[in-house]
């Protein structure tokens, strides 16, 4: 067996396969199906200070090679996440490595959420700063597509917690690596990319957008080549580790991201299709490393010829 340990600066994972925020609930939803502590990490759905309803329905729509979503960050709020039986207290009992995705409608809120989690951080391995959700006006695209605001969010969160930070980047920008550099400069321990691509589907008979939110984010196999390119470029632009995601549906997809320069990967939409797909991906990476003589993820990461 190859050594699958993934070292993302201060964050050390037993293997490089984590779940993408928003696609794995709060972990509990899948723990009935398999032992989620086998994952590199469970990245929970975005948490803000207060509970939020999210968007009206329809929130999801299938398209060729993937899907659109505009969930709008429905969530329980930080208090319930910290103390509700179905959330962090449950995750602590599983032994899973937990990364908490955070967001806010203003820069201060990002800092406050981070501070609240920092104060009760037992069982939290890192925070992932969501500056890239395309489906909420404030707290999403507003921060993730403006270089100055993105930097300010990371700076504020950095001052609010000692926990390792991952900044999740939006692909809906001209040069994603500039945002990665900004996150690095403000003390982010890693960056993760890509979030979903802004997208729209129209029902021509009703002459209406299919999603109640009108637009949403595209994910699934269709976005993978876009994501691989962005991971490739970003991993060459920053020194901090890159977590690659976007349409990973099988082990071979994950290896592509690692070869492109990612130190770890996240599985998103594929969880909806095959709940245990992450376990198959871990096994495939192991087998691939054996077959190609890679002894560590560090060796495999970026091992692209040409």
């Amino acid at each position: 067996m190859a050594d699958l340990t993934a070292k993302l600066g201060r964050i050390v994972l037993k293997n490089p396969v984590m779940t993408a925020s928003g696609t794995f609930g709060y972990g509990r939803e899948y723990h009935d199906i398999f032992d989620i502590s086998r994952l590199g990490a469970v990245v929970v759905k975005g948490i803000r200070l207060t509970p939020s309803h999210g968007n009206p329905t329809p929130r999801v729509c299938e398209v060729a090679g993937g899907m659109l979503n505009a969930i709008g960050l429905q969530g329980p709020g930080v208090d319930k996440f910290l103390h509700g039986a179905d959330y962090l207290p449950f995750l602590r009992t599983t032994g899973a490595t937990v990364i908490v995705n955070i967001w806010g409608t203003g820069i201060e809120e990002y800092g406050e959420v981070a501070a609240r989690l920092d104060a009760e951080a037992e069982g939290i391995a890192a925070l992932e700063i969501n500056i890239s959700c395309p489906n909420v006006k404030a707290g999403g695209a507003a921060f993730g597509t403006d270089l100055k605001l993105a930097a300010e969010v990371v700076r504020t969160v950095r001052r609010s917690t000692r926990l390792p930070l991952i900044t999740k980047l939006s692909p809906n920008v001209t040069h994603i690596s500039e945002f990665a550099r900004a996150a690095e400069a403000e003390g982010s321990d890693a960056v993760s990319l890509i979030n979903t691509l802004g997208a729209m589907v129209i029902d021509i008979e009703k002459r209406r957008p299919v999603l109640a939110n009108r637009c949403g984010g595209l994910s699934g196999p269709a976005v993978k080549p876009v994501a691989v390119k962005m991971v490739y470029e970003t991993s060459r632009a920053v020194k901090i580790p890159v977590i690659g995601m976007g349409g990973i549906s099988c082990g071979a997809d994950a290896v592509e991201f690692l070869l492109a320069g990612a130190k770890a990967v996240a599985v998103g939409t594929a969880n909806f299709v095959e709940p245990t797909i992450s376990l198959e991906i871990i096994d495939f990476i192991d087998e691939y490393m054996e077959r190609h003589g890679f002894k560590s993820i560090d060796e495999l990461s970026g091992a692209l010829e040409g």
């Binding site: 329905t57 999801v60 729509c61 969930i71």
Partner: protein, 258 residues
Amino acid sequence: MNARIIANTRILGDYFRLVFAAPEMAERAAAGHFTHLRIDRRQDRILRRPFSIHDADRATGEITVVYKVVGHGTTVLSQLVPGDTIDALGPQGRPYTPPADDVLPVAVAGGYGAAAMFMLTRVRPGVLLMGARSAADVILTDRYRDAGYEVRVATNDGSLGEKGFVTDLIPRLLAEHPGEKLFFYGCGPHPMLMALAKLLRDQGLDGELSIDQIMCCGVGACFGCVVKVNAPGSADGWRYARSCSEGPVFPLADVYTE
């Protein structure tokens, strides 16, 4: 969870009956549960599709689903033949509560909503109020009759049974059962369920309704399929509940009506 298809036959018009072998699912399935099927293994249409479990036979380990061909997924599904396999998760969701000993169960169906409530007939005889657009959409009534249910039909165009909506059948049913405790089960299109919920509330009646939205993960993780439910004490008085895991069956008290 690959299940072997045993039968996949047309029952009427665009309506099909699918039977597959899934002993563990059959052991646990109840009326109101659904199975989440991965129909197509190609990468152009990736998501699973939820189908109400119509029947489950513990002795043979077989699950039956009744579906209507409406789009890409169901078209591909209708082309599968015995011996093919299908990837089936389930039973998923929160099922109906079996009727208490002192009530007359009344199943109110809109179209193939009748499929989801059939296993209630296993508990005790009751009444099926079947609503559909026209006679071509009235399915499964013989099965309900064979299972000991009294069946009453309403069609929008009057081509079978009474002309009107299925909820129009309820006043007479109530008049015929004075002093009797009726418990209503509902499954069908959203407007029908909302009309049913309002009528039941107005009449001081109780029941459970199966309400869903376009689904994605089917296990409660993605929050795609939420429906509004009452949340007394909360800031807005309502919240979004996941129809796949907190539902699809909700007690009438939880059902939010505008």
